[in-house]
Amino acid sequence: MARIENAKSIGEWLDQRIAIETLKKVMQTEYWIPKNINFLWAMGMVLAATFGILLVSGIFLLMYYNPSVDLAFDSVNYTIMTEVGYGWMWRHVHGVGASLVFLIIYIHMFTGIYYGSYKKGRELIWISGMLLFVLFSAEAFSGYMLPWGQMSYWAGMVITNLFSGGSLHADAFVEWIRGDYVPAQAFLSRFFMLHVLLMPLLIIGAIVFHFGTLRIPHVNNQDGEDFDYAEAAELYKAGKVKESKVIPFSPVFLSKDVFVMGVYFTLFFFLVFYHFEFAMDPVNFDPANGLNTPTHIYPEWYFLWSYEILRPFSTNVGLIAFAIAQVIFFTLPFLDLSPNVAPANRRGLFHLWFWAMLVDMLVLTFMGKLPPQGIWSTIGLVAAITFFILWISLPIITKLEKKL
């Protein structure tokens, strides 16, 4: 057994048994973060905090939610909204949080793309991050089913129908997913289970993994500069804080994060208390009805870009395009053939590619919300094709890129 001596403090007592001093060093005081970063580097902790808030608000909603097709709608819209003390607040926090978490995920992603933070040595950070994106998407979709309104039902119908694989007609597979011929009790119960247990567990695991992938390659910085962390750390520890290129994660970097979070949560709670309606689709305030389709079915704003990639094509082509769009971002570290780790504005054509991709996804998002008619259909189709042209051109333009 290790040498256990009489401890003089609780900290020492714990340290002798579970080495908390070492743990603190590895994860906080000697986890070095470069100084040359900006507020966009705070998005990770903003996301972690938002996830925490979703978890807490979810726990309180879970106390009164009733996952039965007869009672779900009323348990949300009547019990939670009107009877439960501050029930409305938990619901709006949960709804706004679910929407904003995607806004921050997209900012986080595009920050990574802009600064080349997915390159050699950091591929796993990118891949685990994309895995989190997929898991959050599944979490958001399963949660959207729970109020059992018209949009819940029909989104459930349309999205599960995607799994029939177009001409493959795998209807039995779709019925297996649903546990019934249409979304009904079995469907609601299993999506409830996914939303409150399985998906959150996987998300927590993936967050731990995502943090883990970051520890060895360290976070990128504004110039993509590769410097000697050990040397910079020695300088910092020797008291030459100004000369060193790094700061410890905690408490120094975290205090910066907390400032950004302060700004973010001001916006967050402004939305929760004054503009929660943006996260509440009016169509979903009609109870689910399998014999009446809403005139216009659309997903929440964060899925619109991929929905618009599905929509302008015939069934099979649309499905294949949609499937590729869902996973194509995973391949970014391998399609970008340039060795340069630098912000996009120093990378020639890639700079153009970055903004073209961002604008294209915004266009897809807006078109996905509009009815598929006339000029909107055409713009949507062009934007969807542009999306694929951009991905095909990525290896070519990065191959031609001059080494910095």
Binding site: D171, E175, Y181, V182, T293, R311, T315, G318
Partner: protein, 174 residues
């Protein structure tokens, strides 16, 4: 097999894998539709009171079922292929199909004046026999399995008329 330890490792690994496969099969079965859900999948509808060019919507397996008695005018417009989609009972012809768009499953609306269906979700259109006339739907509305019993149709059971439709490709299995 270089050592006893390797052998024991392989044996343990093998049995663990078998157990894992068994567990996966159990999980798959747990997700299957329940027998009670399957058993509730039969509905009998009577078409004797249906009126020409008036759409009747019934419910089978939670899905809307469209029944449309064809008028003389509709029959004269229908092609040979369209007629294969219809169910003949006595002298009357009926279109009976699952009222879910074959694109992504929205419910098309019927316009009696035009004698056509329009799906508002993505703009697909169907004629009075529910055959597709405008993309994106890849095919006409699916015909549910049925068995004739006088003027009644038992949906969910398979009769010879339905088997013929399946065999000649008029409809896909729903």
């Amino acid at each position: 097999m270089s050592s006893r330890r390797d052998f024991m490792g392989m044996a343990l690994g093998g049995f663990t894998a078998l157990g894992g496969i068994g567990a996966l099969m159990a999980m798959k079965k747990t997700w299957d539709p329940l027998p009670s859900v399957k058993a509730a999948g039969f509905t009998t509808i009577d078409v004797k009171d249906a009126q020409e060019n008036v759409l009747v919507t019934e419910k089978w397996r939670g899905k809307p079922i469209f029944v449309l008695k064809q008028s003389k005018e509709m029959m004269s417009k229908a092609t040979e292929n369209d007629k294969k989609r219809l169910i003949q009972i006595g002298d009357a012809h009926y279109m009976v199909c699952v009222g879910l768009c074959t694109h992504l499953g929205c419910i098309p609306g019927y316009n009696a004046a035009d004698q056509s269906f329009l799906c508002a979700c993505h703009g697909g259109m169907y004629d009075a026999t529910a055959d597709v006339t405008k993309a994106p739907p890849p095919r006409g509305l699916d015909i549910p399995p049925f068995k004739l019993d006088g003027t009644k149709l038992v949906l969910g059971e398979t009769g010879p008329e339905y088997e013929k439709m399946l065999a000649d490709g008029t409809t896909l299995k729903v």
